[in-house]
């Protein structure tokens, strides 16, 4: 049987290999290090490149170089390391280089802790770096999805010529679940823009400097159009028991699974509760939430943070219903706790 018991981080790394990743550039940080370690074990055997960079800055710039050749390359880190990459991510976004950036996230701010968190949501979806750019952000909720989304990420990256981030709570990287190993990806788009020597063609240039204001503005419009088309094509969400829901919980990642368990329990008590789980954090799936707002009387954003995604939920609901918040930090709350919270809010708002 081809179900293998894997750690989330290893499943993600294996998924990247399945997706055709040929180089990993990274700097160790808990709780993401197993991704680098997995690559360090595999690439020497498979003939790819593993480089332990001297820093996250160096790593993201190695990704810039590697991606410029058209190869599928990636890096992985966590909170502080992602902050250090933010200049580089801004450069990569403007240079339109496809690549995979993984944030196995932990609690902040500062050095914070190494326990799971979702408090890098703003950084991931609003561009931690400078300037007008976005990157696609995928939030897996199981070890299987850690693998599957890594594969998807590289396809999306090439399709839209954009960096793609996978953001997962630290727990998801550390826990083990059985995964079905996917077949190797064999079809790739070609990349005439890639550098690699100008034999038989004009030189290619990878650049983000635009001193001429008009051209700089032109470039920003090019990106804006790309982001518009990504918003049109790529938002992904999962609806769970929302048909008849008075109260719609919005939660992503591993957190969303806990909420499901809680919903099943509170429904036994007669609470009409459902879940909308954003799978892409950017582009944010505003549409399903907006639709739910037609019927639902109340929304509850549940996050492992002090409240960040709630901005996007509010923007989607746009005043048609109250949007409440429940959050923890440095731990994934239990289904029992979430169940209690859902019932409390529902009662407060007079639902049941």
């Amino acid at each position: 049987m081809d179900r293998v018991l894997m750690k989330g981080n290893e499943a993600l790394a294996e998924g990247a290999l399945i997706g055709g990743c040929v180089a990993f550039f990274g700097y160790p940080i808990t709780p993401s290090s197993e991704i680098a370690e997995y690559m360090a074990r595999k690439f020497p055997l498979l003939g790819g490149t593993f480089v332990q960079a001297e820093s996250e800055l160096a790593a993201i710039n190695m990704v810039y170089g590697g991606a410029s050749t058209g190869a599928r390359v990636m890096t992985a880190s966590s909170g502080p390391g992602i902050s250090l990459k933010s200049e580089g991510i801004s450069f990569i976004a403007e240079a339109e280089l496809p690549c995979l950036i993984v944030n196995v996230s932990r609690g902040g701010p500062g050095l914070g802790g190494i326990q799971p968190a979702q408090s890098d949501y703003y950084q991931a979806t609003r561009g931690g770096g400078h300037g007008d750019y976005h990157i696609i952000v995928l939030a897996p909720s199981s070890v299987q999805e850690m693998m599957d989304f890594a594969i998807t990420a590289f396809d999306l990256a090439d399709k839209h010529r954009t960096p793609v981030m996978i953001m997962a709570e630290g727990t998801l990287g550390q826990m083990m679940e059985p995964v079905e190993v996917r077949p190797k990806v064999t079809e790739f788009v070609d990349k005439p823009w890639a550098i690699g020597g100008c034999k038989g063609r004009k030189p290619n240039i990878v650049n983000t400097l635009h001193l001429d204001p008009d051209f700089l503005e032109y470039r920003n419009h090019v990106l804006a159009q790309k982001y518009a088309s990504i918003k049109a094509q790529e938002p992904r969400a999962e609806n769970f028991m929302t048909e008849d829901a008075d109260l719609v919980v919005v939660a992503f990642g591993l957190m969303s699974r806990i909420v499901k368990k809680a919903i099943i329990e509170v429904r036994k008590q007669g609470y009409k509760v459902g879940l909308i789980r954003p799978i892409t954090l950017w582009p944010f799936p505003a549409e399903p939430i907006s639709q739910a707002a037609e019927k639902a009387k109340l929304f509850l954003s549940v996050e492992i943070s002090m409240g960040q995604m709630i901005d996007d939920v509010r923007l989607a609901v746009n005043g048609r219903a109250p949007v409440e918040f429940y959050g923890r930090i440095g731990m994934v709350p239990s289904p029992e706790e979430i169940g209690r919270e859902i019932m409390a809010v529902a009662q407060k708002e007079g639902l049941k």
Binding site: L5, T30, I114, Q174, M175, V332, P335, E337
Partner: protein, 183 residues
């Protein structure tokens, strides 16, 4: 969902509680169950305490965690102090009396005790202490049978030297036997 069981393993960093959990998870997967293994990672700074939660189910596993595990396998005093109160009402508590110098407070629990360190010191050393205990646990738990587990040793220890595997099987069986005789 109905048939979902959650087992907590807790002890010192060095006591191999994480691998005990992994082993059980592996075994349960081997017999076709849905499983998840959730470690409290990092928290165990060197010398601190470690624990992991194993969920085994016939249905889809939504939540790999819980406030109240049905079964808790506790290898030291700090872990007992921390987790005793969390165990599900009428749940099961298996404890290592070598490193726990107090009896449990709760009366509703079904309790099994074993001086794991002493026993291990006598039979093959501390390295296999956790396999001995695991044998005893599996003998008592209904999740997977001893036979099933035995048949999965080669798979679970894939890559390990036969010597190592045999040594662990031995310890495992010693534990099974111990539980049969004393629990």
């Amino acid at each position: 969902m109905s048939s979902e069981q959650q087992v907590l393993f807790a002890g010192f960093g060095g006591q191999g509680v994480l691998s005990m959990g992994k082993f059980l998870t592996h075994a349960a997967m081997g017999v076709g169950k849905n499983v998840s293994w959730l470690p409290a990672y990092g928290a165990e700074m060197r010398g601190g305490t470690a624990n992991c939660l194993v969920t085994i189910s016939d249905g889809e596993i939504y939540s790999p965690l819980t406030e109240n595990p049905a079964t808790a396998i506790i290898l030291n005093r700090p872990s007992l102090d921390r987790f005793e109160s969390k165990i599900k009402p009428n749940g099961t508590l298996i404890m290592n009396t070598s490193l726990i110098d107090r009896p449990p407070v709760r009366k509703d629990l079904c309790i099994f005790q074993m001086p794991v360190n002493q026993i291990a010191d006598e039979h093959g050393g501390s390295k296999i202490a956790n396999m001995i205990l695991l044998g005893a646990c599996i003998q008592k738990m209904t999740l997977v049978t001893v036979e099933q587990t035995l048949s999965l040793f080669e798979l679970i220890f894939a890559g390990k030297k036969p010597g190592v595997i045999d040594k662990n099987k031995e310890a495992f069986l010693f534990g099974v036997d111990y539980a049969a005789r004393n629990w």
